[in-house]
């Protein structure tokens, strides 16, 4: 089984260093959560893994291939799907078009499998299935997040990068989304890298936790240990 190994990763925005030597491992079939305050570098980490930002140094390897600084459209072909921050869907597209978009690159080779993948994600999110013809712009925040996740899942990834899926959503909806992901991970062996500011929610389902602070790894241990570590909680997580 593949695992994601990040070592000594450094990413800059111009003169701003966003990631300053990050190393950790996301084990296969597990949920690894990346938590930390606003501006800690969580989104930058995911964006560098998926190729949207260029790493200055360090390596990212996925199974036996190195994916550091490949283009995003190559990385998604290696089985890594990224759901970026903020319900990234195309509002003028219909729900179905948004989902189809995620499978375009597999369509020619594997059109029957793509059809199956689309109906699988729609089974996962029945609320979307009722609205396939509707435009994505008319969906509620929670539905949009589900759509963004569906767009990623339809490419049949082995690793799912999720950036703050709970952002701006009602607790009930968050719970529903997190449980769907959890279920998917346990039943299909999907590896998940879940970025959250809301540490409680994330640690509740995660196997492993990585705490980022100012672009560095401040703590890297099992989720259970993190939940129990009251010093860490008061120092970094503020509760």
């Amino acid at each position: 089984m593949k695992e994601l190994i990040v070592s000594d990763l450094v990413t800059d925005y111009g003169h701003v260093r966003a990631l300053d030597g990050i190393s950790f491992v996301a084990s296969s079939g597990e949920i690894t959560t990346v938590i930390g305050a606003n501006g800690a570098g969580k989104s930058t980490l995911l964006r560098t893994i998926s190729g949207l930002e260029k790493a200055k140094s360090g390596t990212i390897s996925w199974g036996d291939i190195e994916i550091t600084n490949l283009a995003p459209e190559e990385i998604v072909r290696s089985g890594i799907a990224h759901v970026p921050e903020g319900h990234a869907v195309i509002p003028t597209f219909s729900v179905l078009e948004n989902i189809e978009m995620g499978a375009l690159f597999r369509r020619r080779k594997n059109s029957s499998d793509v059809k199956a993948a689309i109906s699988e994600v729609l089974d996962l999110f029945p609320r979307l299935a009722e609205r396939v013809k509707q435009s994505a712009g008319s969906l509620s925040g929670g539905e949009r997040q589900m759509l963004a996740i569906s767009r990623a899942l339809v490419s049949r990834p082995k690793l799912l990068l999720l950036d703050e899926p709970s952002l701006g959503l009602a607790p009930l909806v968050v719970e529903q989304i997190i449980q769907t992901i959890n279920h998917l991970c346990r039943s299909t062996g999907l590896t998940v890298l879940l970025v959250e500011q809301n540490a409680n929610t994330a640690l509740a389902v995660a196997d492993h936790g990585v705490l980022l602070a100012l672009g560095k790894v401040a703590s890297d241990q099992s989720a259970a240990a993190m939940r129990a570590d009251s010093a860490l909680r008061s120092a970094y997580l503020g509760y």
Partner: protein
């Protein structure tokens, strides 16, 4: 009455050509974020290629196809050789406003080069360009009908192209990918869509659309290095009237301009055409800056 009907039909036929040219502008604007002022220069160039093929004894249809293919190749070449390197450079440029005008200036440079090259290769003097079918008004027993076979041909060809393009963009995977790449390049790349390839494709399609417009309009303007400049202006106005971001808007804008210009020429004076275009352009931008069909977030300039 006959004059009025024939004015309408001629206006619709030229309007259809303007629509095509405007659509070419819209496709590249949406797909690559560039208003391509070189578009009708490219079309002029490929029409010259067609004209030379016909002059050396080939059939109109061969010339027609070759012109369309060269139009799309030329569009692709412009993207690959000029616009793509510029886009990489853009981010390092000093100001954002200036960065947005750089591709515009580049397209003007391309226009200048194409026109000069046409002059060097084929001399500056005007030459005619044939129509594939008769362009005289039909005759029936009692008199003439107010339209020609060429009018019908133009309307038919443009309609077919518009329908195929609309099918392509809404019903095919590549079309979906092109739209996604235009609307949200980041999500498109994360979905595995090769965004830069989609951009090149936009340039190719737009190049072919422009070439087709050039082939269809040139019989009535004659061919010279500058003969399609005016079509660019009309197409630009049509695209802005329609909202620059909206393909359907471009088509409607093209028809409005075609019929409008036809009416002004017949009932007003031809000299007022430009003033009318200028007036329309300013009025639309001041009253409805997003055009008749443009969305809220149209303006990227």
């Amino acid at each position: 009455m006959n004059t009025f009907i024939s004015t309408l039909i001629t206006g619709t036929a030229t309007g259809a050509i303007y629509a095509l040219a405007a659509l070419g502008l819209v496709i590249v604007w949406r797909g690559a974020g560039v208003v391509n002022f070189a578009q009708m220069g490219q079309a002029m160039f490929t029409t010259y290629i067609a004209s030379n093929l016909i002059a050396s004894g080939n059939s109109y249809w061969l010339a027609f196809v070759v012109a369309l293919i060269s139009g799309s190749l030329l569009g692709m070449a412009i993207d690959l050789l000029i616009m793509r390197p510029l886009a990489h450079k853009k981010s390092s440029s000093s100001t954002k406003t200036l960065a947005a005008t750089i591709p515009v200036i580049a397209s003007l440079g391309i226009l200048a080069i194409l026109q000069a090259l046409a002059g060097v290769f084929w001399a500056g003097e005007e030459r005619g360009f044939p129509t594939p079918v008769n362009s005289f008004y039909f005759k029936n027993g009692t008199g003439t009908l107010p339209f020609s076979a060429f009018n019908l041909f133009v309307i038919g060809v443009v309609l077919t192209v518009l329908l195929s393009l609309s099918y392509f963009f809404t019903q095919t995977g590549v079309g979906l990918g092109m739209r996604a790449a235009a609307l949200n390049p980041e999500v498109a790349r994360l979905s595995g869509i090769k965004v830069s390839r989609m951009r090149t494709l936009s340039w190719a399609i737009s190049g072919a659309a422009g070439s087709l417009a050039g082939l269809l309009i040139t019989p009535s303007t004659n061919l010279s290095p500058n003969s399609l400049d005016l079509i660019l202006i009309v197409a630009f106005t049509a695209a802005v009237v329609g909202g620059l971001d909206s393909p359907l808007g471009a088509v409607i804008g093209g028809l409005i301009l075609g019929i409008g210009i036809s009416l002004v020429t017949t009932y007003g004076s031809p000299e007022n055409v430009f003033l009318a275009i200028l007036f329309l352009l300013l009025a639309v931008q001041l009253i409805r800056p997003n055009g008749i069909l443009g969305g809220k977030q149209v303006r990227r300039g």
